[in-house]
């Protein structure tokens, strides 16, 4: 078999494969639920209800989506330039670390001055962390996939070391956790009485910001050009290495905001279980969004909904929560296939 590009794909050609991918994902999830001895319809219903069925559920989903929007944007920005940042998890912790370093009393300032400084410092920390793999790539030709992946392990151990050493909360009853943020360093809630913090708003603003950069700026154009065809971009006079470094700084900064928002908006202190893999899940979010920054918001809500829904489903129906991860993996693989099939025709020879 071989693949032939389709010049002008029809609407059906564009819509049917993604729809089939989604349907197949649901069918596979149902079969797995049956394997666990549960009724697939009630399992799917419980996931939906747990994710969007009540005000509490909806707020939980929005809160869970917040870090995923940031990491999803970080991945989308990087992948667009074919810079494979798999290290959003480490950059997230870099932002969280900076938040805790500055926000636990080191800077006794009012919120209006403190929060912008923390945000900026977090962005810089994440950007710096990704700068190292970026420079290793541009200077030495070291593949960034491996370095960013290994950085995740190194940086998490570094955080663990700090939490058991200099950053350990003396009031923490021996647990490896940092001291709590001072009230001025906390992100307030958007609406009084509703458990949703300004981190979510910041995530939406970032998504729009990234969209503007990608579609309206020279850097966005250069990033796309480098991603599409390096040789052509170089021929057109685009400084590839510089663009890659800028991409890395932007991507690392965005991922760090996830850590800032989780600590300042939700948790109030830094622990080793701050992120249950938000950095890795960001890759799924970005791919489901076709690397479109505004699509990232939608994809993050979808992914967060599946996770939150699966948590509550698991308690009610006694099906392991890993069902959510399987659904997302299947959705990811089928979706990249579906998008390809919308643009290419499979020809037998």
């Amino acid at each position: 078999m071989r693949l032939e590009p389709i010049k002008n794909p029809s609407l059906g050609r564009k819509l049917v494969p993604p729809a089939l991918a989604l349907t197949t994902t649901i069918v596979i999830a149902s079969l797995l639920a049956m394997l666990a001895g549960a009724n697939p319809f009630s399992v799917l219903g419980l996931i939906l209800k747990g994710a969007f069925g009540s005000q509490f559920a909806l707020l939980e989903t929005l809160n869970r989506a917040t870090p995923l929007i940031f990491t999803g944007l970080a991945v989308a920005v990087a992948f667009r330039a074919k810079f494979w940042n798999i290290g959003a998890e480490a950059q997230l912790y870099a932002g969280a670390l900076m938040t805790v370093l500055l926000g636990t009393g080191f800077l006794p300032w009012p919120s209006a001055a403190l929060l912008p400084v923390i945000i900026l410092a977090s962005i810089l920390a994440g950007a710096f962390l990704l700068l190292i793999p970026a420079l290793l790539k541009t200077r030495f030709g070291v593949d960034e996939v491996v370095t960013t992946l290994l950085f995740n392990f190194i940086f998490l151990l570094f955080i663990s070391m700090l939490l058991e050493g200099p950053l350990k909360d003396p009031m923490g009853m021996g647990w490896p956790k940092s001291a709590r943020l001072i009230p001025e360093a906390r992100l307030p809630r958007i609406f009084e009485g509703l458990r949703l913090h300004w981190g979510f708003a910041l995530a939406l603003i970032s998504a729009v910001g990234v969209w503007v950069i990608q579609t309206r700026s020279t850097l966005g154009y250069e990033m796309r050009a480098v991603g599409l065809n390096k040789q052509a971009a170089a021929f057109a006079g685009i400084p590839i290495n510089l663009v890659l470094v800028k991409t890395a700084l932007l991507s690392g900064g965005l991922a760090a905001l996830a850590g800032f928002s989780e600590v300042a908006g939700l948790k109030g202190s830094l622990t080793l279980d701050l992120s249950p893999g938000f950095g890795y899940t960001g890759i799924i979010v970005a791919m489901l969004a076709l690397l479109n920054p505004l699509g990232v918001v939608v994809a993050a809500l979808f992914v967060a909904g599946i996770f939150v829904g699966a948590d509550s489903m698991s308690r009610a129906a006694d099906v392991p929560t890993y069902l959510a991860d399987i659904m997302l993996a299947v959705a990811l693989l089928l979706m990249v296939l579906a998008i390809m099939l919308a643009r290419f025709r499979v020809v037998r020879d």
């Binding site: 394997l35 593949d143 992946l149 392990f153 190194i154 151990l157 890993y322």
Partner: protein, 314 residues
């Protein structure tokens, strides 16, 4: 001083060879995939799946070697999925690989929870026991280190030689290497690039799964979550370190494992207890990155690595 003494103990080298064994299997697997032109980032998840599948088979009553075969088959299954998406459909090898890792890991955890819903501590199996090779195991230092290992370790070393011979001395190996260097030339010979690449990815994935199974069936005797713990990613670094050659990759795996065994022992010395243990745990990852920096300049990357081949396209 203490560190030098450690280097001359047989138990240290025995541990190094033991730690190297799963890495050798998985690195060989990745090497075969990449030699055929396919980067397989499914490695981490496939190792998890292999670790569980082999152990689960033995736990349900099959023999140990049957367990190894089960792991291999499960690995090949994920390899088939990976290769269908990346070879004939030519999808992004990064995205598919990460997707396969996520799928393999999550479905393994799901299966574990379904198979053993009640357990708090993971049950144990009767794992592979060390087999002392007669005469050879009596050599001082070398004997206990190299020739008192479990059968799976011997298999790992034999496989390095077999893969090297097949890659460099047989038409099959030539076809695999050519598929990774110049697929158009392979197609011009009337061979199917698709079939060669898919076969290589499936076989390679099978080896990755056996590497995972080594952990549950030889190094330890039960299955834990997170037990693969980044070994797959390290194997990807080892392939680069070994310049895509089986012999050099073996050397890299043993060096890496020796370093890992050393850091465990130094942790317990008087010097080591003054340093946070996390520093020691970081070392293998830092070492991998440094090795990549040193080797990447000289590395002879397969020319068509990560380049999909679509017949009729120029």
């Amino acid at each position: 001083m203490e560190i030098i003494e450690i280097l001359f103990t047989a138990s240290f080298w025995a541990a190094a060879i033991r730690i190297a064994s799963p890495l050798i299997f998985a690195t060989l697997g990745e090497l075969i995939c990449e030699r055929a032109g396919v980067l397989n980032l499914g490695i981490e998840g496939i190792m998890v799946a292999g670790a569980f599948a082999g152990w689960m088979a033995v736990y349900s009553g099959t023999g140990l070697w049957v367990g190894v075969c089960v792991a291999m088959i499960v690995g090949m299954g994920f390899g088939l999925l990976h290769s269908i998406l990346t070879v004939p459909f030519g999808l992004s090898q990064h995205v598919v690989g990460l997707g396969v890792t996520l799928l393999a890991t999550s479905s393994t955890y799901y299966a574990y929870r379904l198979a053993l819903p009640e357990v708090t501590s993971p049950p144990k199996i009767q794992a592979f026991q060390p087999y002392e090779i007669p005469i050879l195991s009596d050599i001082p230092l070398l004997g206990p280190a190299l020739f008192s290992q479990t059968p799976l370790t011997y298999l790992a070393f034999i496989l390095v030689a077999v893969v090297a011979v097949v890659l460099y001395r047989t038409p099959l190996g030539l076809a695999v290497r050519a598929a990774g260097e110049n697929p158009a030339a392979v197609a011009a010979q009337g061979l199917s690039v698709t079939a060669i690449r898919m076969g290589a990815v499936m076989f390679g994935s099978g080896l990755m799964a056996v590497g995972g199974a080594f952990l549950t069936m030889s190094a330890f005797d039960s299955f834990f979550f997170e037990m693969v713990n980044g070994r797959g990613w390290i194997c990807i670094a080892l392939v680069v370190f070994g310049s895509w050659r089986p012999g050099k990759a073996l050397l890299g795996a043993v060096l890496f494992a020796a370093f890992d065994a050393l850091q465990i022992r130094v942790q317990q010395t008087s010097l080591g207890t003054q340093i946070p243990y996390q520093i020691f745990l970081m070392m293998p990852y830092i070492l991998s990155i440094l090795a990549l920096v040193v080797m990447s300049r000289r590395a002879e990357v397969p020319a068509a690595l990560m380049v999909p081949f679509n017949k009729g396209e120029r």
